[in-house]
Symmetry: C2
């Protein structure tokens, strides 16, 4: 049994290499379709990825959304209220999206005329980080009630992301979490990360985030 661990690592590398190949094909396809920006949203369950999309989608021209969940199509149904350019992937137990799953939605789901593509990953702050989906940017979403110390304890996504959304800032007076300290912890892990303080309840900070996405 002692050789169990090296085996896992080896297969893990193979899987990631296979993923990278499909991700490169996806990237080419996004480019061929003149998609201006592709964003991979990663967070813990319940940090507010879908609520964020509900706020962002109406402010952008020609958005499309791929929803990733282990089960249910609840998120896609929520987005469908705003646009019919949405598709749900159910991973059937898998803890992250991989490039092959995303690839599987095309060509039924057309990218023609899409300017901004959002991929909402499975709610998981750890595993989705390693899987390239051909995106331009990973957006890390963290909600204030999760606490000040998450970046130090789960550094992977904060290293990989280029944009970080601190959501649910309207709860600051009630949840005993200090936004400045939370952001300091994040910037300790990655000083280059662009931070946006947002409340999907009050709409605070959404405009600034949308401006960044349009860049």
């Amino acid at each position: 049994m002692s050789e169990g661990k090296p085996k896992i690592v080896e297969v893990g590398e193979k899987v990631l290499k296979a993923n990278d190949k499909v991700a490169a094909e996806l990237r080419q396809s996004y480019s061929d379709n003149d998609v201006k920006g592709v964003f991979n949203l990663i967070s813990s369950p319940g940090a507010g990825k879908t609520s964020l999309l509900e706020n962002i989608v109406p402010r952008l021209e020609n958005p499309a959304i791929i929803e990733g969940d282990i089960a249910t199509s609840r998120d896609a149904q929520r987005i469908y209220e705003l646009t019919d350019r949405v598709v749900q992937i159910n991973t059937r137990g898998a803890c992250h999206l991989d490039a092959r799953m995303v690839s599987g939605v095309f060509p039924d789901f057309s990218l023609a005329g899409v300017d901004y593509l959002f991929i909402e990953n499975v709610g998981n702050l750890v595993c989705p980080t390693g899987y390239d989906l051909g995106e331009d940017h990973k957006i890390a979403v963290i909600s204030l009630p999760e606490g000040e110390d998450k970046a130090a304890k789960y550094p992977g996504i904060f290293r990989e992301a280029t944009i970080c959304v601190v959501n649910k800032i309207d709860l600051e007076p009630y949840c005993g979490v200090n936004i400045d300290r939370l952001e300091e912890d994040i910037l300790n892990v990655n000083p280059e990360l662009k931070l946006f303080r947002v409340s999907c309840e009050t709409g605070e900070g959404i405009d600034e985030l949308v401006e960044e996405i349009k860049k």
Copy 2:
């Protein structure tokens, strides 16, 4: 590349079988040491597992704690304020604890005289579920701000757990989440689950949870 998926499944099964063997050894060791109860705490990052332990530990005789984190020993340091019977496992990137990692803390970390052993898993609502650590009970922890629909979207842990703690209920007036609907969603997945409404801030519900643990 088309054979990538079957390969992963096969290795996954091997890994889980190897894990089950070590978990059985752990279970035997807990029994040999007359540990009354072993609890594996599983939740998203920031749901409040460590805060819960800070509330529970002082109310139990002879507790011991194994802390699992990808990085840092912050959680173990917090618990160390209450008892020196705590050890930190750093998984170095891995998204869950497995039985071998837990096994690695013994015999340096002694179980002699321990009545209750708590294993705080890596913050991840998905991956830790499949790895038996020899525990008697899995405790699922969900915090109110995560939303009402988590059990349907991440059913695995709610199926496997015997106890479910709904934490941060003091935030109900502010976060727009209805506890009754959240619990209904959980019980739809697993009607046998014992639910406890808790606030680590106000102490509400802690006594009832401690009584259950003592059983």
